[in-house]
Amino acid sequence: MRDYLLVLRAQLGTSRRTLGRGLRGARLLLLGLILAGGFAAFATRGVLSMFGGIRQALVEYPQLLPAVEQNLLTMWSLFVVAIVFSNALHTTFASLYGSEETGYLLSTPLNPQAVFAARLTSSIGGYVLFAVPAFAPFVAYGIVNAAGPGYYMTVGITYLAFFTFLVAVASLFITAVMAFVPGVRLKQWLLVLGLAIGLGMVFGSQLVATGIGGGNKLLALLERIGGYNLTGFTVLPHVWLVRTAQSAVGGAGYGWALLTAGLSAATFALLVLFAGRVYTIGWAAGQEEQRRRPRPVSSRRRGLSGIDAAGIPPGRSPFATPFWAIARKDLLTGLRTPLMWYLVLVGAVVVTFQVINLMRSTAGQPPSSGTAIILLSFVSGGASFSGFVYAGSAFSREGGNFSLLSSWPVSTAALFAGKVAATLPVSVTVGIVGLVIVGHVAPGILGPFWRNLPVLVSTLVPALSLMALLDTLFPDFSFERGFQPGSRGSASTVVKTLVSLYSGIGIVVVLTIAFYFGSYYSRFKWASGLSAAQARMAGYALHLVAATVLTAASFLLGAPRLRTLGQQARQTADRR
């Protein structure tokens, strides 16, 4: 126990220091907590409204209500299982086997079991910021059923046990495999497995939403949801959580709560016992380098790397500039990591289904400028959403390399612009998919593809620039190729994520509305004197000016910040 507490205390100290010292750290922590709490309150309010709407729709069918509410909770719990499990595969791997401190700790007389348990505990703790908002449906369920304080305590404890169980199962899987499979290969497979689960989940949920949306009637939908017996699969732990909530509303539910807590504790204990035997072996396997046999260098590869091939005359290439070098390097490294492909695939799937759903809901209605604004906002918003992880970590992803980069003659302007340029392909690809789908599903609403493509790009540039700016304000140089558990618990990451998402969507909507000024200008008295062509041109100009101003603002604020980030990157890299 002493060893466990010793390692855990060191872990907590490190996490606290990542926020920064003194007032800055405290302010960041407070801001993160306020934003997370605000988001949880916002989510609870949203779920409460949904439950209220359901109750109103089922006022004549009260017998259907419990089944509908419980099935919705079960669906949500299943969603939490998928999200937490797929993420835990990466986060626990990085925490248990990817950290350099582990090697040192295992070389000391500390008990490996204690090291493992402390790392696992901090890994579970990293999910708190996700767990709080994800608890919102259970809070809302308690409120609409007028549950007493006992409900929140019982369900809260069960919920924590459920989370612990999920992370422990993922860790058990990793620990078992690590003892037998070389680490580098396992890491690659885990990454692909996690992404595949995530992609499958996105695809499945969108498919279900499309199928449900076909009826276009709330009552029919609720009857279908109420008809499922999702809480009947009592062998599954996520059902135990719902059963706890269901019983705790009536003042009971302790049985299900005890069962979940017992299972969680048993899994955790089994895992730690098992880890005592295989943790050191697995960690050592994870350190093995995988080297391929050297192979001859082809001239094609040389061309790819920017080195001259035979026949190319000597001289400076117009693309051999710091801006292009940064953009090309980022794109090349992106293409070699699954994250970029995952973002494109998820974005394409979501945008496709959203466009189809939107068009189905407006079927039969005459095309209007409002529909066009919503459609283009959906496409651009989906595209911007796909790029936010990439743009929001543009500088953080450099990690320790950032200080080396800072020692080179790259102007902060070229660095900022090169980074933003490198994030564009992800978002633009998703946007192009969206525009093509719109062109097929609803031809004529958005106009020709060649007109929409530049609008898409000019909308994405300021949105992505803002996300890059936020990364200069809240950098996290411990971020590793898109997946870093240490960054999950950082308040600055939460702030950056939430502000990125909301402001990105805000920019998309404002710029799209500006672009379509020609379709609603007559509603404004001051603009009613304009001809249709003049109003259209004014809309295009407004869009361009707004996009330029927003991009310039991010650029002017972000580029100077880069001058001092090198030292911070170095300190983070040295700490690791």
Partner: protein
């Protein structure tokens, strides 16, 4: 005119004075070794000299260019090998060097020749098309050194460059540094290996607790310490850093080689 010129550099972190009034000048073609105990302020000084850390006060000029007034112009003149090599795991060594060549705007013929030559000298040619994620520490260090030498910089800063290198690569590095000096570059290197400093350096600088204790040749240090002719740099270094407490008036700052 000195190619590296630092005037009265100070750097404080809260109440801690990491660097306290360091002034130095390194001439063209000179190899300057920067020595000092752990935590003396060597790395902070180097980072201030290359524009990675802003001094609390003082100025740094590289070939007459102020590193904070014209950072891009100053950085185009220098090459830097950090104390720990963090590289892009998803790039091959050849791609990384191509990227650095783009950053420094090298022309095609020049970059090809330099890259191939450096890869060959560091015995990296066979591994140059492997992703660097699988490289050992020594291999990474060789790639970083190659990147720093690629554009034939006027000034080369190296922070503990021999760490992780095998004896053959360490020898290659020494040869390359001497060749750089012969073609007129200035080399500023921090090291704990005093034998390297003794055999290679034209001048040495010793820093302790953020203050420069001595600048000059090994012979001048011997004279300054009243040491016997046979005294090694190691003995002189230990004598100086044990005897003298920084802050006094008896610093050998006036001794310039």
């Amino acid at each position: 005119m000195p190619v590296i010129e630092a005037t009265d550099l100070h750097k404080s972190y809260g109440s801690l004075k990491a660097v306290n009034g360091v002034s130095l000048a390194v001439e063209t073609g000179e190899l300057f070794c920067f020595l000092g105990p752990n935590g003396a302020g060597k790395t902070t000084t180097i980072k201030m000299l290359i524009g990675l850390v802003k001094p609390s006060s003082g100025h740094v000029r590289i070939d007459g260019v102020d590193v904070w007034d014209k950072p891009t112009a100053a950085k185009s003149l220098l090459g830097y090998v950090p104390d720990a090599a963090h590289l892009y795991d998803q790039l091959t060594a050849r791609e990384f060097l191509g990227f650095v060549a783009d950053v420094f705007r090298l022309d095609r013929r020049e970059r090809h020749q330099h890259i191939e030559s450096l890869l060959e000298r560091f015995a990296l040619s066979e591994d140059a098309d492997q992703l660097m994620g699988g490289f050992s520490r020594g291999m990474r260090q060789k790639v970083v050194i190659s990147a720093a030498l690629l554009h034939r910089p006027k000034v080369l800063f190296l922070d503990e460059p021999t760490v992780g290198l095998d004896p053959r690569s360490a020898r290659t590095l020494k040869d390359l540094l001497r060749e750089s000096c012969d073609r007129g570059a200035a080399v500023f290197m921090s090291t704990h290996i005093l034998e390297v400093a003794e055999t290679m350096a034209d001048r040495i600088g010793i820093i302790q607790k953020g203050r420069m204790m001595f600048q000059g040749s090994v012979a001048q240090l011997r004279e300054y310490q009243h040491g016997p002719e046979a005294a090694s740099l190691e003995e002189l270094f230990l004598l100086l850093t044990e005897q003298r407490q920084p802050g006094g008036q008896d610093q050998a700052s006036g001794l310039r080689g």
